[in-house]
Amino acid sequence: MKPSSRPTIFSITESEIDLNDLLAQITLESTGAAAIFTGMVRGETRRGESHDTAYLEYEAYVPMAEAKMKQVADEIREKWPVIEGIAIVQRIGRLYPKTPTVLIACTAAHRDTGVFEAARYGIDRLKEIVPVWKKEVSPSGEFWVEGDYIPKPGE
């Protein structure tokens, strides 16, 4: 299959993440398996300092975020050349508990060729290099969630 026929979707959106639609967009005639990761807003967090969340407010440096999502997709294709379709979507704006905020989906002909690992790699990399931030708003106040990854030259 020519690389050009392999769909890559990446977007920052304020709209609901539609898993059915995204999956259909990255399913080819030769596709037999998909691994999809989604992250949601947690209303109740029990790991670390236990707390409740009313909502999260996401913002992005949109053009750079989309370019870095494309870079994550390129890295996935380099590591797992059998991957057919890739979708990477980050929703921004005010998002309430139970709402999917991010999606990484990878398709391939078979399930044993890296789709799970590729999706896992995708979400890990997104959380390292894609410029998106979230502010947590709770009954007791609001604070920016800060990451801890410092990109290296060339990332």
Partner: protein, 82 residues
């Protein structure tokens, strides 16, 4: 002098009190030099300059990089999306 555009996000925007700024800087100024200038001109940003991430034209940039003319420079904390 070079004309550049600065963009601030998340905590850095809150401290800067603005989303963006335009400014003129010397043609040979590095990212380190720009950080020093911002620390002086905007005291609120001084503490943030230690851990800030900086990009030049949407690519991560580091202290020794020289800021090109008409650059789009963004300053933000480590990312926390997902």
């Amino acid at each position: 002098m070079n004309h550049i555009k600065l963009l601030f996000f998340a905590t850095i925007r809150d401290r800067a009190g603005t989303k963006s700024l335009e400014m003129e800087i010397p043609a040979d100024m590095t990212i380190q030099g720009l950080k020093d200038k911002l620390s002086t001109d905007y005291p609120n940003l001084k503490d943030s300059m230690k851990s800030v991430l900086i990009t030049i034209n949407r690519e991560y940039a580091f202290d020794e990089a020289v800021v090109p003319s008409n650059a789009e420079i963004a300053l933000f904390p480590p990312v926390s999306g997902g």
